[in-house]
Symmetry: C2
Subunit: 296 residues, 2 copies
Amino acid sequence: MKPEDKIKVAIFGYGNIGRAAEQAVKSAKDMEFAGVYHHQEADRLKEAAARGETDVVLVCTPTREVPEYAKMFLEAGLCTVDSFDIHCRIADLRRELTATARDGQSVAVVAAGWDPGSDSVIRCLMQALAPQGLTYTNFGPGRSMGHTVAAKAIEGVEDALSMTIPLGTGVHRRMVYVKLKEGADFADVRSRLLADDYFAHDETHVIQVDDVQALNNVAHGVNLVRNGVSGETHNQRMEFNMTINNPALTGQVMTSCARAAVRMRGEGRCGAFTMIEIPPIYMLEGEDEANVRKLV
Amino acid sequence: MKPEDKIKVAIFGYGNIGRAAEQAVKSAKDMEFAGVYHHQEADRLKEAAARGETDVVLVCTPTREVPEYAKMFLEAGLCTVDSFDIHCRIADLRRELTATARDGQSVAVVAAGWDPGSDSVIRCLMQALAPQGLTYTNFGPGRSMGHTVAAKAIEGVEDALSMTIPLGTGVHRRMVYVKLKEGADFADVRSRLLADDYFAHDETHVIQVDDVQALNNVAHGVNLVRNGVSGETHNQRMEFNMTINNPALTGQVMTSCARAAVRMRGEGRCGAFTMIEIPPIYMLEGEDEANVRKLV
């Protein structure tokens, strides 16, 4: 592939996901790595875009900062990919970014991680295969970022890790490992944590440890199950399971979606799209016909 | 939904899959069932299309007849959906029908069953999630149509059923149940069958029975496994399992793809597409934004 035909992909934000995304971009033969930009370098990225040095940016900031930066880069004419993961706000973000992307003649792929993201594609496909029925998404075992942050904020907690354990039918247990601040009382900390809105509705176990980092692991997983009806035929059973390195998968999904974003812009289909709105083949390296021969 | 906004879906061919597809179309609130057409009624269907009584036809003929009829209906301006399942010829069929569909200003969805079909979407997604690695497709337990037909053609066989049993890593056992013709010798039949090209390369067991119909069951299944690499991270494990009524699922997938075909034609994107080339959301009933809220 000629260098000028490669997709130029930059990374904005350099935490776990940014680092993993860098590896994914560098592993893609049809991409050119267009650099890492830290938070304070947003203007420098816009300038690089103006000079044509970047086609698409993977927005790897904390999720709450995604809307602001995605908008900024779309306005600058860059395609964006994010893994915004606050489920109840995805449809609104998609709507907002659609307007911005159309103005900027660009494409945003939103909520492009694994859940939301590839799991959403699975749920959508299962719905098409058996339109009536129930789908359960069972997460873990793996670390919940939201619950870990909530546990760390409890008075008397120095460090914490909240693991999500799947109990089936979308019900989850929380295993919370806490290191106490000096002088804090475990019974008090436990009571406060169990009363917190993040934990009050689930079966929650609080365990005192000396070293939280010794337990840390970016492994995660999911079990997606549907039992549904195709036509008039009941008991159509389907299931998707995954055990993965969480940031590595997120970075890879974002990278694959960068390809889709640029391709859709090339077709003049500007706007913001979730992964269920993108032809899956657009995420792949290589020619369509070759991929059809290999995968269909 | 107003009757005039409904998608008018006809069925051509009325075997197991045609019957299942009829149930799926009748279960869809956004579709109007536009009738069943038997083989000899192709002209009558083209006339109905000319009168605007049909938008899309599900081509439910035996797979070898699909290319001929799909072409005929696309030329008549109908969208078509088929579940053509000869894997090695799908890319060629897609290419042929692309030209026909563009001439007829129409859309063909090809190979829209479960394998090829929804399994292809899973394989494509797994490839996007972990671009390097191995995917294994393990079929069954379930009846193989191709192997059953091959077994029935063996000299001395009155009736037969060939079950596909998954042994993992894409290797399959064939369990072949045969009822002999009067006077046929089991040892001879068994030798001929084991030498047949359909069976010679797999572990095959031949079992004599008095009644093949008593064993018949349209249940089938699949286990799709990938262990791959995301970026530079190995051991990303993903798996899809299904246990289903085979014709019911095929009929449902074709019906869901009818929706996608009409929508793509509405966008002016004429041509032939496999399921990995279609946005998954196009297969669903309902508004996009509502589906995004529910599934992403």
